[in-house]
Every structure is written in C-alpha cells, then in structure tokens.
Symmetry: C2
Subunit: 317 residues, 2 copies
C-alpha cells in the first residue's frame, strides 16, 4: 500500500528511515505531490545547521564526511548526510563507489545518508537540495552535511544553501593560487587541509592562512578557520567538528542565523520560480517556438536576443 503524504511526514517525524527515504525520493524525482510535501514540512524549516562540504574530486570528501558523522554522533547530534552529484544530468546519479565506505552508519538510527541527483526537479539542485534538507529537519536532524563535488558553480550553490561551508583541500591538488582562482577563498567558513600527513600539507596550510590574512574584515566578522586533518586515519576530525561548532555559536549570536535563513529561502524560492518558467519555455520546444528560433539563429538570420524576446513574449503566465 502506498502511503499518502501526511502518513509519510508523520513517519519521518517519528524517525522512520523508510519514510525519510521515500520523501527524499519524491523530492529527487520531482513528484507531483512535492507541493503537498513542502507544505507539510514548512513548519520545521531552519531547525538544523546545514554544513556544506565541497572540494575537488579526490580530495577526500566522502572519507571526511564519514568520519565527521562519527564525531558528530559521539557528541549526541542527530545527523543527516546528502551527497549531491551536480553532474547528474549526464550520469543520472552518484556513483556507488565511495558511498560504500559509509555503510558503517547504515544501522545507526540517528543517521540518515542519501546520495541524490537533481534529475526531474524544477530548478535543479538549487531547488531540490533545500527540500531534502527540510525532510531531514522534519526527521529531527540537527546537523545536516551536504557533500558536493566540484569547484565553480557547485561551490557557489553550496555556499548559498549552507549555514556553514567547509572547503577541503589536499596537498598536491593545486596550490593556494588555484583556490583563489576557483573563488573558494570567499565562500569557505572552514578550510580543511586534508591528507595532512602528505608532503606539502604545511605549505598548503600556510598559503591559505597567508591569503586569509590579506582579506579585510569588519569587527565581529567571521574569520575562516583552517584545520589540518588526515581523514583516512581519523586524525584531526575532532578539530573539524570543533570549528563547525564554533561557527554555529557565531551564527547564533544576534540576527545572523535568521538573516542567513532568509537569504537561503530567497534563493530557493527564486530557483523554484525559475524552474517553473524554464519548464514553460521548454514546453515551447514542442511547438514552433524555440526550435525554429534556434535554427534561425544558427543560420545567422536572427540574433539571439531578438529570439529570446520572442520566446519570452510567447510565455503566458
């Protein structure tokens, strides 16, 4: 028997892993009942610290996440993990490989772990991830780790979605200049220099500290923390957890957390609205709309701005 939305939300509230999994699947698949789910979950918004964790492929994100879950559980937190794969348009989802390492947590009822892709969801990752976060908040998680691969766009997205952004670096993966180039200096609340037992780790640590020293900060502003870890040996993870807790404490003073949540909600609402509009533009594909315009542009008969104006004009609210 297929459970209806109120029953699934009640199940998630009671900590039933299957209801949580089902609701996140609905988010991921852009289920038509998503609006009903969102309405039912709305009251539980903003209850968790959302921790974004990002970095280049191979830097050790999954291992660090796994160890961090262990540390947070030891502190008594209820933990959610969303492993987000921004390349999903092509792969159709995350690869199983490094998810396997997290299996030690699968029997722990205080941990929910989920790989997710943004296929099907209006507004893509930017819309789907906050909805999945809401499911986990509804299920009582007070720390939610959102792990995402990549630099550039993906990190921009993670920074707008997370309360606290962790950026992982590793020696030999490119120096601090590369970090600046990728724009990560501006988004990180905590830097983790992982694989700290490898040659070059101290140089990476010093480079990041040096670059942070160059930035101007107003009194009371957060100073990004730089932490060394060797996640594969479990070393330094306590320091990472402590830096996360410190940022949580900083956020909790004054109006910061509310302001952060409003910013995040604005991004989320805008992403869903754009998703709706994109779907309407997409529907024009089937008619004479975009396809014909595109072939005129490709043939040099029409410029793309005029074509876009035509497309927007065809859009009826």
């Amino acid at each position: 028997m297929r459970k209806d939305v109120p029953a699934l939300v009640a199940g998630a509230r009671n900590g039933e892993a299957r209801s949580v999994a089902r609701l996140i699947s609905m988010v991921e698949d852009g289920d038509p009942r998503l609006r009903e789910v969102a309405a039912a979950l709305a009251p539980y918004a903003g209850r968790a610290q959302v921790v974004g964790l990002t970095g280049s492929p191979g830097v050790g994100k999954s291992t660090t996440t796994n160890e961090l879950v262990r540390a947070l559980r030891a502190e008594g937190h209820r933990v959610g993990v969303l492993a987000v794969d921004p390349s999903s348009p092509f792969t159709g989802g995350a690869i199983l490989g490094d998810r396997i390492r997290m299996q030690e947590h699968t029997t722990d009822p205080g941990v929910y772990i989920r790989s997710m892709s943004s296929r099907g969801q209006l507004g893509g990752l930017a819309a789907a991830t906050p909805q999945a976060v809401r499911v986990l908040e509804g299920a009582g998680c007070d720390v939610i780790l959102v792990e995402t691969v990549g630099v550039g766009q993906a990190e921009v997205e993670i920074a707008t979605l997370a309360d606290t952004t962790l950026v992982l670096l590793a020696p030999g993966m490119g120096d601090a200049i590369q970090a600046v180039k990728a724009g990560i200096l501006e988004i990180a609340d905590v830097f983790v220099v992982n694989k700290a037992d490898r040659p070059g780790a101290d140089a990476t640590y010093r480079d990041i500290q040096g670059m942070l020293g160059l930035g101007e900060r107003a009194p009371g502003d957060w100073r990004p923390q730089v932490v060394r870890a060797t996640a594969v040996k479990g070393e330094g993870i306590g320091d990472v957890a402590a830096a996360i807790a410190k940022h949580r404490a900083w956020l909790s003073t004054g109006d910061r957390l509310r302001a952060a949540h409003e910013r995040r909600a604005a991004v989320e609402v805008e992403a869903i609205a754009l998703g709706t509009l994109r779907a309407r533009l997409g529907n024009l594909h089937d008619g004479t709309g975009l396809g014909k315009l595109a072939s005129q542009v490709a043939a040099g008969e029409l410029d793309p701005y005029t074509a876009a104006d035509t497309l927007v004009a065809e859009l009826r609210p």
Copy 2:
C-alpha cells in the same frame, strides 16, 4: 571619442584587436547596446570550430592552451582564446597569474586572448560566452578555444557551448572513477592525459581507454580520442591538435555541424530568455515581492512552492 557599434564591428571585421576587446567587454558587462552588437554579428555565426577545454584546477589547462595556440598558429589558423572563470560571482574575474604565460602571443595579430567573467550579463556564462564567441567569429577566428575551470556544472555548460570538448586529466589528480563521478566521460570528445611524464600517467591513460571501451556506440558515432601530453615541455601537443582536426572533419560530414549549432543556439536563446525572466524576478526584490516571501518561508509560515507561485504570478510579461 567613443566608437559606436557599427564602427566597432567594422573594426573587428578588419582584425583590429582594440575593437575586438571593446566588444567583448560590452558582452562581459552586459552593456545596454549588446542587442545592437548581437544583431550586427548575427551573420557571422557558426564560422569557427569552438573547442572547449576543461579539467580540475592544477591539471595544466592554461599551459596546454598556450601550447595549443602555438600549434594552431603554425598550421595557419586564426585563433581566439576565451579563458572563462565561472567563479566570477565572487572573485569578479579571473586571476592574472597563469594568463601571464600567454603573453608570448600578445604581439601575434592572428591571436586574440581574453579572460572573461560573466558578471552583469543576463543568463550568466551560458549567455555571455556564445556572444564573445560571435565577436571572435566576426573577427575572422576559425578556431576558438574556450578554457574553463572545474567539474560538474561548468563542464556541462562547456559541452553545450563547444563543437569539440577537450577534457584534461593528470596522473595523481584522482583516478578514472573520479572522472566518471564528475560525469566527464560523457562530454569529452578528446581526453588529454597531461603531465604524461609523471608516475601514474600510463595507468590514467589505460583507465580512460578501458572505460571508453565499456560504452556502447552506434556505427558512425565519434569515438573519444585519448592523447598523452606534457604541455609544459610542449610534448604531445601536435597529437592534441591532430585529434581536434580529426573531430572537426567528423563534424563536417553530413548534418552534424548544423545540428550542433542549432542545439547550441537553442541553449543560448533559452539562457538569455531565462536571464530576462530572472532579472524581472529580481526587480521584485525591491518591492514587497521576494524579500517578504523569503522571510515567511524562513519562518516556516509558507512553503517555498507556494511562495514561488506567488512570485511567478507577480511577473508581468
């Protein structure tokens, strides 16, 4: 005296570097006369082979681009280079560092090199890059290299914009599984295993070849090429240029190039249309629109889908 658009376009057509630079600046800044520029450049669409070049930070993209420019010039091509920084929302543009290495080409009138960010442009990178490509096509470039950092979103974008997509890998930057994870196996027309003189290069080469062997291909489909190079020594660059030429030849048979250009134009037009719509949503920020909705969502009083519906309904075409 500030030149008007027809004079700038005429200048670019005559190969004047300053006119080309000025037009790309207008694209980058979202200049109000952009529509006029686009209209003037429309007839020159689709004249160049657009070669996307992507890979993780530190893999050697700039060095490879630099060497590739030399090789393409030696073959008599007129070459444009766009170094695109998708992290520009934060950094406000590319870092100068590795652009400096390209200075050897600055006195060559057959080469245009430009770092660009997508600030200000409606539709972001997806809209700005094709416009800059059009400027370079107008200036007579027949090969345009678009270099972008990153995995995930950025690579997805580059693949939709380029006729030919090069993905750079390096040994020790993560294995082939990571390549699959990042979704790059599906988008690359040519793989370049750079830093081929380092340990592990043969293993990376074999891994990629092995994974390509697993994919199914219809007769006549392009089989991605895998090329070894050590760009910093100039080694293997001829092979990279040959793989690019081979892909160009493949594209030129049958209807492939026209189909690719129509796909690209559709993405471009849709991106500009979405940018227009996003700007209209953004204008609602100033009113009671998005800000109020976001604070209700953050407070748990409203779900984000209902908020998005309200926002879309406020949009007047």
